[in-house]
């Protein structure tokens, strides 16, 4: 059983997945941040592969991508860092990124190397579903979970299709938006979460985009298995002088 499946079997609520960009704020911070997140009690780490043109991201994550690329981050280096992370970190590791850097590395090679270095799941938001269908046997054989996104405008039929292709969990985008902090959830959003909760998905789902504090985290968890925090954490990394104390503090503030 994959680490992600095991996690969701043992933990049905309040799963916290934390996203950060590889190579940000400094090239080798990727490893230290992962260790601090494990010590702080996060449940999943989601590491972003930086890209020059992150169209689904708001200003915070865009800026972190640019810094990371300027620092010299690339897929090969990230996979080496994951190997390093795996020496100490036992929680599930998910890589998230736009398709082009992965294609240039070679999709099959990427999947194989990622799995070999200890990656548990992939999120590739601009990977078309029918194109992924060709790779499903490969990712299954590697025990690599592949997570797809759904948004408030995704039709019920398509939700079923996405749930069917995903494994590990499904990533529910909280609103029709790019990544980044909002002002809490509207009644409309809660209605969408409720529908998803009652949709009978085969996978657990996590809510992401606009999760930035205790309130949005716990509200998400009322409807789902938990939530994903990205931009708010990137902002913390940008400002922090002391990851060792600030990261546990950040996780504590979210959870309680």
């Amino acid at each position: 059983m994959s680490r992600l499946k095991k996690l969701f079997q043992d933990k049905k609520q309040n799963v916290l997945s934390v996203f950060y960009t590889a190579g940000f704020p400094n090239l080798n911070d990727t490893v230290a941040i992962a260790r601090h997140l494990q010590a702080a009690g996060a449940d999943i780490i989601e590491i972003g592969i930086p890209f020059s043109d992150p169209v689904a991201d708001g200003p915070t994550i865009q800026a972190s991508n640019k810094v990371a690329l300027d620092n010299g981050m690339n897929v090969k280096l990230l996979l080496e860092q994951v190997k390093e992370i795996r020496k100490e970190v036992t929680m599930p590791i998910v890589l998230m990124g736009y398709l082009n850097p992965v294609l240039q590395y070679g999709f099959e090679k990427f999947c194989k190397d990622a799995a070999a270095n200890g990656v548990d799941g992939l999120i590739l938001p601009d990977m078309p579903l029918d194109e992924f269908a060709d790779y499903r046997d490969l990712t299954n054989a590697l025990n690599l979970d592949v997570i797809f996104l759904i948004s408030p405008t995704t039709s019920p039929e398509r939700i079923e299709l996405i749930d069917g292709l995903s494994s590990g969990f499904v990533y529910a985008v909280s609103s029709s938006s790019t990544t980044g902090a909002k002002k809490g959830f509207t009644a409309e959003q809660e209605e969408y979460f409720r529908k998803l909760k009652n949709a009978g998905l085969k996978n657990p789902f996590l809510i992401g985009f606009g999760i930035f504090d205790h309130e949005t985290f716990t509200k998400s968890s009322e409807f789902s298995s938990g939530a994903i925090v990205g931009s708010a954490f990137i902002n913390l990394l940008k400002e922090s002088n002391n990851f060792e104390s600030d990261i546990p503090q950040f996780v504590r503030n979210l959870k309680s």
Partner: protein, 393 residues
């Protein structure tokens, strides 16, 4: 029909719709509706009427006597530069705004590089009374001040794109982000044959009026609808797609794409995508793309702001791959010299984009009785500053 898009949105191995889920419903709505809407007789009538009365079509096919003497072949210019707003861009924006109206979208967004597509979009929004937001790289806004003001006079809101290198690629990113954030009431008018399916095919169809007219006009002028060569410049490739479209299956017509070599193809400052690009995914489609080994998109360079896009439309990637289209390139200097040459021989100051199409004439093998059609996609008014700065005239 080996050069038309297949049902999955691919031209050979290029094209498709590589988009995040947040954009899927928008793009899917467009994909399922675009063909039925644009082939409605009523749509066709309204489109044709606006192209005629508002844009000024058909644009002339002009026999360039003195240029023909210089190059010892028969050269015709397809005068897209005489379209309202000064370039072919408006053929597409008229088509897309009529489509947007029928899809009940009342807000329009667009990206623009040099500002020509932005102006063409602002123009049709004014015409239809629709709200218009144009994203433009902050650097381009500084370089193309008059076009920024033209858009504002027309009532559009021009939003600076401050991410990345602050040029066309970044303006496109910002427009896509805007669309993600405003999925229900907004239509995104992409200005070239790029983006996720169905955009490349839709924009090609709206621009195909160019080659449709060429055939009729050549029949009248030469007694034969088929030229021997058609030349068009390629940035994203919308004017070239329109100029090639009705000749794609006529393999005896030599089709030539002129790319911007900038300071030289190997200078590190170029926009010659077929020479420098590899297959990749950007702005929703798989195509040829200028990028690093790690798959990061490279900022292209050309003296012509309308050609400095790091990719080409997937149709063109396929036409290059199948060798249906011969791709040549012209440097900044070659293009500027060709611009002056056309000004002096024919009294037509071309847009610097279109001057690249003139410039590759020197590389083309022609016979004296060959018929060459150059798609003169835009006029040079917007480029006066660049001509003045270049100075060699």
């Amino acid at each position: 029909m080996k050069y038309t898009v297949n049902e999955k949105g691919f031209y050979g191995k290029f094209g498709g719709a590589y988009i995040p889920e947040m954009l899927y419903p928008n793009v899917e709505e467009l994909r399922t509706n675009y063909l039925s809407i644009i082939y409605e007789p009523e749509f066709q009538m309204e489109f044709a009427k606006l192209l005629k009365d508002y844009v000024g079509r058909p644009t002339p096919l002009y026999f360039a006597q003195r240029l023909s003497e210089t190059y010892k072949t028969k050269i015709y210019l397809k005068r897209e530069d005489l379209c309202h707003t000064g370039a072919h861009k408006i053929n597409n924006t008229i088509g897309q705004i009529l489509l947007a109206k029928r899809m009940c979208k009342n807000k329009i967004i667009a990206e623009t590089g040099a500002g020509q597509h932005g102006v063409a979009t602002a123009t049709v929004c004014a015409l239809m009374g629709m709200e218009c937001t144009v994203y433009m790289g902050q650097l381009d806004m500084e370089r193309q001040r008059p076009n920024v003001e033209r858009m504002r006079i027309l009532g559009a809101k021009v939003v600076p794109a401050r991410s990345g290198n602050m040029t066309l690629k970044d303006a496109t990113n910002e427009a896509m982000r805007h669309w993600i954030n405003n999925p229900s009431d907004t239509h995104y008018i992409i200005g070239s044959v790029v983006g996720p399916h169905p955009y490349p095919d839709m924009v090609t169809r709206f621009q195909s009026v160019i080659s449709e007219e060429m055939k009729t006009q050549l029949q009248d002028a030469e007694g034969n609808p088929y030229p021997d060569h058609v030349i068009a410049c390629v940035g994203g490739g919308s004017n070239a797609a329109g100029a090639f479209y009705h000749f794609l299956n006529d393999e005896h017509v030599n089709l030539v794409g002129a790319e911007a070599a900038g300071k030289g193809v190997d200078s590190g400052e170029s926009a010659a995508t077929t020479a420098l690009g590899k297959t990749g995914v950007l702005h929703g489609s798989k195509t040829l793309l200028m990028q690093t080994e790690d798959g990061q998109v490279v900022e292209p360079y050309s003296i012509s702001a309308g050609l400095d896009y790091p990719g080409i439309g997937p149709l063109h990637a396929h036409l290059f791959d199948t060798q249906r289209v011969q791709f040549l390139s012209a440097t900044d200097d070659e293009a500027m010299e060709a611009g002056i040459e056309l000004s002096r021989t024919e009294g037509i100051i071309p847009a610097i984009e279109s001057a690249h199409a003139i410039a590759v004439l020197k590389q083309l093998k022609t016979d004296p009785d060959d018929v060459v059609v150059i798609n003169l996609s835009g006029r040079g008014d917007k480029d006066l500053e660049t001509y003045i700065r270049w100075g060699k005239y």
